[in-house]
Structures are given as structure tokens and as C-alpha cells.
């Protein structure tokens, strides 16, 4: 049935935007403030350009392997061992992301509204949504994200409009923040903020054509970069450095400052809808792709039996960190430092190897995807 599922450009772009911009609602603004000070927005612009450059390289090489995902290319390069190796790397990468984000979102919801509720109960709610969506498959998740993205974007714009009175241009200075070296040299590994693009490298069997793949990647990075830049910018404009490195929930803090007359004073809870919807889609996507990649790697017939066991694993891993700050530390010091290796490094090396092999062997055999 998967060979019959085909997504359009809008749907795929929406999916990738959700994956890459959901971090805006957790710790991303604080992270860029820590890395680049008042120049956080410059860092994001730089990283967007860098990501576009890296994606252009990858997409050029992908042209020779239309309709094949990264696992198929791993099999082409290294046979069964290559396929399993690539698959396991992706699974481990996603098993790091999903529990981390699950824990972060659950902690934040607990802080906002459910302070007396056990963290496991809050995580269970997210888990129910993830499991239900994973059972239905990638098609409904993608279509639903196409419906939700405009609503999330509208809510984000509302936040921006609401906090305009708090903007202070002097907060942008010094313009280069923590320094050119920190932004343009040491900031390169932070291209991991676009690690969500790795989903696109698993999506080719679901896409119409190579053109769809290329344009989707390009537009999703561009739009995500735009939203992340604006998010970093408004955070810096509203809250001066170094105070901006103190808040655990930057966007929530910004939303709390919205004050429209006497009636609309504490409306930040409304944005819980948007953030939670975004989190549900994000987590569902990763749960689905963990089981899908597992199924494809080990050539299983069905992926649905894997959903419940993997969900239990995700739940268990999410409970390992002692606190939210430990999760944030793991994310910023480990994940953001090394995720670019899996997202950009691995596809580039793999595609280069595949191209070399292709030149020696000839055309790629026209196999059906399993």
C-alpha cells in the first residue's frame, strides 16, 4: 500500500516545517541566545544559508537515485550490511530525538498547567496521540500537518503582533553578539537545528518526482529558517541578553507579556493548543519513521506490531533524564553538536560513495522499494 501513497509539495513542505520549527516552542530561542548572544538571529540566517548549500549538494547527488531513500542507497553501497548500518544509525538518531522532545514538552506542559500531575501521566497523553497517529500511518499525519501549519503560523504571527510593544531595538546590540568566531566558525555544528530535514531523505518513495523532492527541501529549509530567525529576533528584541539565557520556556514567557486591554491579559494558555498540536505531529512523525525505518531495514512485512513496543521504549527513555534541565543539557551539548553528522554528513558520504559505485557499475537497477 505504501507505494500508492503520494504526497504533494505543499503537504511535504508542511510536514518538514513542523519538524524543523517545533523546537521554537521549546528551548530553541534560549539555545541561540546562549550560543550567539544578541546575534542569535544572525546565526540562524547563517545556518539557513549553510543548510541550503548542503541540501543543494545532496539534492544534486540525489538526482541519480530518484525514488530511492537513504536506506535504499545504503543497500546499494554496502548491500545488506550497508542497509542495516544506515537504518540503525537513523533509528538511534530518532530514538534520541523523540524521547527528548517528549520529555521536554511534557515538562513544559506540567509547568504551565499541570504542576501536580505526575510527569508519566502527562507523557501518556502525548503517547496516546503518537500511537494513534502512527497506527493510521504517515498519510493522515502529513495531511493533518498541511491543515495545522497555517494555524500554527497564524498563532505565531499573533504572538509577534502581541509583543510588539515590548520590542526594544537596543537589545540587538552589540550586533555581532558573542563574536564572529562564535557565530561563523564555532556555530557551524549548530546546523543540527535543521536536522529535521533528514525526514526528507526517507520520503522519496512517497514523492511524485525528484523535482518535488528538491523544491520541498529548498522551501522547507527556507521557510523554517525564516520562522526560526523571526523567533530568535523577537526573543532578542523583547528580552535583553543575558536575561534571555535564563528562561526555560522562551515563547511562553513572550506570550505571557501580551496585554491587550483589560480583557485579554493572560491568554498564553490559548497557545498551548498550538504548541501541543505541533508537538503531537512532531512526535507522531518520529514514532512512525522509527518503526518504518526499522521495518525497511530488516525487511519486515508490517510495521504496526512495532508501534506499541517502540512507544514503550520511547516512554522509558524519556523518563531516564532526572530533570528538564538535564534534557536541555543533553540536547544542547550532545544532540545539537553532533546531529549534523547524521543529517548532512552521512547522506553526503553515502551519495558520493553511491555515485562512485554507479560510475563503475553503470545505471542503477530499477528495483521496487520493499
Amino acid at each position: 500500500m505504501e507505494s500508492k501513497i503520494v504526497f504533494g509539495k505543499v503537504e511535504t513542505t508542511s510536514l518538514l516545517i513542523i519538524v524543523m520549527t517545533t523546537q521554537l516552542f521549546i528551548s530553541f530561542p534560549r539555545f541561540v541566545a546562549e550560543k550567539a548572544g544578541t546575534a542569535g538571529w544572525i546565526l540562524i540566517v547563517y545556518l539557513t544559508v549553510l543548510s541550503l548549500f548542503l541540501f543543494t549538494i545532496i539534492s544534486k547527488m540525489y538526482k541519480n537515485f530518484q525514488g530511492k531513500d537513504i536506506i535504499d542507497i545504503g543497500e546499494y553501497v554496502g548491500g545488506n550490511i550497508g542497509r542495516i548500518l544506515i537504518g540503525l544509525i537513523i533509528i538511534i538518531d530518532y530514538m534520541f530525538i523523540a524521547p527528548g522532545v517528549l520529555r521536554e514538552f511534557s515538562d513544559r506542559v506540567k509547568i504551565i498547567t499541570l504542576d501536580k500531575t505526575p510527569i508519566g501521566f502527562v507523557m501518556l497523553f502525548f503517547l496516546i496521540g503518537m500511537i494513534t497517529a502512527a497506527f493510521y500511518g504517515i498519510e493522515p499525519i502529513t495531511r493533518f500537518s498541511a491543515i495545522i501549519v497555517p494555524i500554527v503560523a497564524a498563532a505565531f504571527i499573533l504572538i509577534i503582533i502581541g509583543i510588539i510593544p515590548n520590542f526594544n531595538l537596543t537589545n540587538l546590540f552589540p550586533l555581532m553578539g558573542s563574536g564572529v568566531n562564535n557565530i561563523f566558525i564555532k556555530g557551524i555544528p549548530n546546523v543540527s537545528i535543521f536536522s529535521g530535514i533528514s525526514i526528507l531523505f526517507i520520503l522519496p518513495p512517497f514523492l511524485n518526482s525528484y523535482d518535488c523532492f528538491r523544491k520541498t527541501g529548498f522551501y522547507s529549509i527556507l521557510l523554517s529558517g525564516f520562522f526560526l530567525t523571526v523567533g530568535a529576533l523577537i526573543y532578542t528584541l523583547s528580552i535583553p541578553y543575558p536575561a534571555s539565557t535564563e528562561f526555560t520556556m522562551p515563547m511562553y514567557t513572550l506570550a505571557r507579556t501580551i496585554d491587550w486591554g483589560r480583557f485579554f491579559t493572560r491568554i498564553e494558555s490559548i497557545f498551548v493548543f498550538v504548541w501541543a498540536a505541533s508537538a503531537f505531529i512532531y512526535l507522531s512523525i518520529f514514532l512512525f519513521f522509527i518503526v518504518y525505518v526499522f521495518k525497511k531495514t530488516f525487511r519486515l512485512e508490517y510495521y504496526t506490531p512495532l508501534i506499541l513496543p517502540v512507544s514503550v521504549l520511547v516512554f522509558a527513555f524519556a523518563l531516564i533524564p532526572e530533570s528538564m534541565m538535564r534534557v536541555f543539557q543533553l540536547e544542547s551539548q550532545i544532540f545539537r553538536a553532533y546531529a549534523w553528522i547524521v543529517t548532512f554528513g552521512m547522506p553526503i558520504i553515502l551519495l558520493m560513495a553511491a555515485l562512485l559505485i554507479k560510475k563503475k557499475k553503470g545505471a542503477v537497477p530499477n528495483e521496487k522499494n520493499s
Binding site: E11, G129, Y302
Partner: protein, 583 residues
């Protein structure tokens, strides 16, 4: 023990993996090649089904087959006999004559080609038009057969058919079943001695309701006709609206014993062929004894039984049916039901009122926005109230918060219990109000609600603000144009209340997410239910949530994959173009 086995099976299905069935759901195909492939597959399936049906069980299975007369055992007279006594005997036995009090068998004689032949006519009293029977069948046969007719037919049956029966709808048939079916449905069966065929005459004349105003879909602007229980009247109502020679009305019989006539209506050069084929396949493969209403037919045809939202639109308006058929959809009409079934539909179609097409652009869009807000209120308002009062107090302005808390101070129940009590009471009043006859019904409902609400507030069972919440929720559900769609909100509202009581806005978001995922994955006759929002289709759809001006609606809905996408040119108001040229 059976219950335990069922429970075990249910638990196994939930916790252990159940291999999916190999049957593939219908997908509305776009290209001709895909359509042809699908049609070929379904034809092969039909042939396989027929060949398995024809296989009889072996010796062992015959030991376990039910003893006694089987329905298809050959005691039947399959073909009309030349001996009229045999035919008469068979008819009497089939219809349990004389136990059946309304069956009439009139024996008489016919003179044809110098022969004095015995004949009889069989019909049901009350179902036929006796004027037609007397004037156009009995009279010519009994009286006018004595008049010399210049007929050259050698065959007696042809001679009688051509010269002696002056009725437009007569079918000569050699099969007994054809006659029996016709008699069962208000026709008359005519048998004549020495002729091995019978005459099945369509002389329906039962008393039925006349074309009246719609009851469930009342509009201010627009036609005021509604379907009745007669199939031919209904198909005529649609045909006289469309007046298109390509409008096809295919006849089906649903129900092995009731053989209820149904009609599948579509426009041949617009509707997607694979969609028509799929509708035919589903109608031909319903295996029930009796069927009584289009509501039962809808349940037998729909894709998902457990989805709260309906997957077919039921309407009693011929104009709306014609409008839907003109867009490329199909309509199924059933004898005995004043509701037509339209398929495929999407979620946005369920929010459209029949009046939207007839009122001007600003009003129709305003009504749609109001309806959309009504849907949100109907579904989410009680849940939002529970979430805000329990988890998100900070959202309420302080003055309002004090007012709410002071009114709730004396109420012993938590807000979720209050809501559930009042919602249940409202549902009780609504349900009871339908059953009370005459003009007392709605009045009693209103008074009951007012008194009940006021008494409940006075007794400190509920707070006053809750009455407003429940009332607004109820009014919101009445604003939904499709009553089946409104039913779904009545059910889901309770789910959202419970989710909100558990975790506030997070619970409501979980509900919206799961609800959205289920809706997006659902299909209505191969069309995704949330089209054109998910999946996104091309910009040909100008009637999603808001409606474009009529002169801008150039294309039919893209998700229907119709044969003719374009329904009007870019400049449909040619008079405006001519005005510009004059200037």
C-alpha cells in the same frame, strides 16, 4: 462461555497483531488506465464470486446442511405454462390464497382469433389503480375482443399484446418471477390459456403523500419541493430540474425478499466511471432479506460504520440532489424513502446549506462563518469551560472569575459533573420533545428546558453560567445544516468534556489531534473526507469553507476526478463583457 470467547478475541485483537485483510479499499482513480484496471479487477472479482457460489458442498457438508425445503429447490414453476390451471394453482399457492385477504384473482374469458380462452388477472387490492385495470386491461379483453380486429399476427400472445391491451407499460414475459415481482410492487399479472407467456402490467396506484415542502431542510430562498416515498416521482423531480439527456437512472433491486427498487442517478459524461462502477458493485452486493429505508441502505453502503461523521449526504431536496449530480456526484434514491443519498462527499459539504447557492455572495459567506463558529461551539464549548475553570483560571478576567466562583460556591458538584448532568438533561429533553405529538412537543421541550434549568439553578445543583453554556452548545448544534453531522457532535462533545476534565487544553488538543487524524484518513467512496484541505487539491475548488461568487466557480471539484472539469467559461457573464466593449 460465548461471551468469554468474544472477550478473549477482542483482547487478542487489541494487544496482539492482527494481520490486515487483503481486501483493498476503493480509491477514486484519476487516469483512464487506472480506471480500466480497477474496472477489470472488479469484474474478475464478480466472476470469482459467481463461480464460488455455483460450487455446491460435498457429501460431508450435506450431512450438516439444514434439513427441510430449501428456498431454491425446484418446486417452482419457473416458466409460464400454457395450461392456465397450472398457472392459477401456482399463483394461489405462492400467494397463500385465500389466506391473503387483499389478493384479488379475477377469472374471465377472452375472445381472440375465434377462440374463447380462459384468462385471469391477479393483483393486490389497494396497490393498483383500479381505473386503469378496468378500463385498459379488463374492458378491452372482455368486451372489445369480440370486435373484429385486423391483425395479421400469427402468434396469439403478440396479437393480444398489440391489439387488445391498451396500456403503455406492459411487459410480456415467460418467467413467473417477473410477474410475481410486478404484482408484489403494485402491478397486475395477466395469464391467458394456451399462451406460454404472461403479461406483467405496471398499474401502480397506491395512495401516497404528495410532493410537499421539505421538513428537515427548510430554506427561505429556493425551491420548496421535497422528495416523497415514490421512486418514480422522485426521479421525475430530479429529471425535471436537470433536463439533461445524459442523466442516467439505473435501476437496482435491493433486498432478496423485499426487492426494493432503487435508482442510481448520475450524468454519464460528467461522473467518474470508476465511481459509478463502484456504486454499482456495492448496490449489487448487498445481501439482506428486507430493506426499508435509505438510512439502512446508507449503513450498508458506507465505508466506515464507526466513524461519527456520515460519509453520505442524505437530502430530501430535489434541487440539492440535482446540484450534486451536476457537480459529478452520484445520487441513490430508494422506493419508500423520501431521502436521497449523495456520494461522495467531504466534510465541508456537510457544513453547506442548500440555501448557500441561492443567496448572494456576502450573505452565504456570512452564514457559513456563523455555521463554522456554531460547529466549534457545539463541539468544544463545554470542554473549554471545564478546562478553563479547572486548569486555566488565569485566562478569565478577575471580575468574571469572581462572578463565576461566587455562583459556583454553593454547588456541591465539580464543574465536570455539572456539565455532564446538564448535557444529559438537555439530550433527554431533546429526545423526549421529538416523541411528543402535535404542537405540544416543541412547546413542552422549551418549557421543560426553562423550568428544569431554573429549578436546577435554584436548587444549587448547577451554576447559572452553566445554563448559558449548555444553551449555546445546543443552539450551536441546531445550526449545523446536516442533522446526521450534528449527531456526531452530540456524541463527541462528551469525549471532549472528559478529556478537558483530565488535562485541560492538552486533553482538548489530544482530542482534536486524534479526531483530525481519523477524519483525514477516512474516505467517502474513495474520496478523502477532508479534501480539499487534506489532501490539498488544485485551486479548482471555489466552494470550500467560503463560497466564491457564482461567476467565479468555473470548475467542478477537483477531488471528484470528473470527466469534464470545466462547467463554465472564465467569462460567464457575457453581458458584462459586452458592456465593456461598448464603452
Amino acid at each position: 462461555m460465548e461471551c468469554l470467547a468474544d472477550l478473549k478475541k477482542f483482547l487478542q485483537n487489541v494487544f496482539l497483531f492482527k494481520e490486515p485483510e487483503e481486501k483493498e479499499a476503493f480509491i477514486l482513480e484519476e487516469t483512464r488506465q487506472e480506471k480500466e484496471e480497477l474496472i477489470e479487477e472488479t469484474r474478475q472479482e464478480k466472476e470469482e464470486l459467481r463461480s464460488t457460489d455455483s460450487k455446491k458442498g460435498g457429501i460431508i457438508s450435506s450431512f450438516f446442511s439444514p434439513k427441510g425445503k430449501k428456498e431454491d429447490e425446484s418446486d417452482e414453476l419457473e416458466e409460464v405454462s400454457k395450461d392456465i390451471n397450472k398457472n392459477l394453482e401456482y399463483i394461489k399457492k405462492t400467494y397463500n390464497y385465500p389466506d391473503n385477504g387483499d389478493l384479488i384473482i379475477r377469472e374471465f374469458k377472452v375472445v381472440a382469433k375465434d377462440k374463447n380462452l380462459d384468462a385471469f388477472i391477479v393483483l393486490f387490492d389497494g396497490m393498483v389503480d383500479s381505473n386503469i385495470v378496468d378500463s385498459h386491461i379488463l374492458k378491452p379483453l372482455m368486451l372489445l375482443s369480440n370486435v373484429e380486429v385486423k391483425g395479421k399476427e400469427k402468434d396469439l400472445a403478440q396479437y393480444i399484446n398489440n391489439h387488445l391491451i391498451s396500456h403503455s407499460q406492459v411487459k410480456m414475459t415467460k418467467k413467473m418471477n417477473d410477474v410475481i415481482e410486478e404484482v408484489n410492487f403494485g402491478g397486475a399479472g395477466l395469464f391467458i390459456d394456451e399462451i406460454d407467456c404472461a403479461f406483467a402490467c405496471d398499474v401502480k396506484g397506491w395512495v401516497q403523500r404528495q410532493v410537499d415542502k421539505p421538513i428537515t431542510e427548510i430554506v427561505i430562498r429556493g425551491p420548496q419541493e421535497a422528495f416523497t416515498e415514490g421512486l418514480r416521482i422522485n426521479t421525475a423531480l430530479v429529471r425535471k430540474t436537470l433536463k439533461d439527456e445524459n442523466l442516467v437512472v439505473e435501476n437496482f433491486k435491493v433486498g432478496r425478499r423485499s426487492k426494493t427498487p432503487c435508482a442510481l442517478m448520475y450524468i454519464k459524461d460528467i461522473a467518474n466511471e470508476s465511481l459509478v462502477e463502484e456504486a454499482r458493485r456495492r448496490l449489487n452486493n448487498i445481501n439482506v432479506d428486507f430493506i426499508f429505508d435509505s438510512g439502512e441502505l446508507e449503513q450498508l453502503l458506507e465505508d466506515s460504520t464507526f466513524l461519527p461523521q456520515p460519509q453520505m449526504l442524505s437530502t430530501e431536496r430535489p434541487d440539492r440532489t440535482a446540484n450534486m449530480i451536476a457537480q459529478g456526484r452520484l445520487a441513490i434514491l430508494m422506493h419508500g424513502s423520501p431521502f436521497a443519498l449523495i456520494m461522495p462527499i467531504t466534510n465541508s459539504d456537510l457544513l453547506h446549506s442548500p440555501e448557500d447557492a441561492y443567496v448572494r455572495f456576502p450573505y452565504s459567506n456570512l452564514f457559513r462563518i456563523v455555521r463554522f463558529v456554531a460547529v466549534i461551539l457545539s463541539l468544544l464549548l463545554p470542554g473549554l469551560y471545564v478546562a478553563i475553570t479547572n486548569f486555566h483560571h488565569e485566562m478569565i478576567p478577575t471580575d468574571l472569575l469572581i462572578a463565576i466562583e461566587s455562583s459556583r460556591e454553593a454547588v456541591p458538584f465539580p464543574s465536570v459533573m455539572e456539565i455532564l448532568i446538564m448535557e444529559f438533561a438537555f439530550e433527554l429533553i431533546r429526545e423526549a420533545g421529538i416523541r411528543i405529538p402535535g404542537p405540544i412537543g416543541p412547546t413542552l421541550g422549551i418549557i421543560g428546558a426553562l423550568i428544569l434549568g431554573q429549578a436546577a439553578v435554584a436548587a444549587n445543583i448547577v451554576s447559572p453560567i452553566l445554563i448559558i453554556i449548555v444553551a449555546v452548545t445546543g443552539i450551536g448544534s441546531f445550526a449545523v445544516p446536516n442533522f446526521a453531522h450534528a449527531f456526531s457532535f452530540r456524541i463527541l462533545r462528551f469525549v471532549y468534556i472528559i478529556l478537558a476534565a483530565l488535562t485541560g487544553f492538552l486533553g482538548i488538543t489530544l482530542g482534536i489531534f486524534v479526531h483530525g487524524i481519523i477524519l483525514v484518513s477516512s474516505k467517502s467512496f474513495g474520496v478523502p473526507f477532508m479534501a480539499p484541505l487534506g489532501p490539498r487539491t488544485s485551486d479548482g475548488v471555489t466552494d470550500k469553507l467560503l463560497r466564491s461568487p457564482i461567476w467565479k466557480q468555473e470548475n467542478r471539484p477537483d477531488y471528484l476526478n470528473v470527466q469534464k472539469q470545466r462547467k463554465q467559461p472564465k467569462i460567464s457573464r457575457e453581458w458584462a463583457e459586452r458592456e465593456k466593449k461598448k464603452r
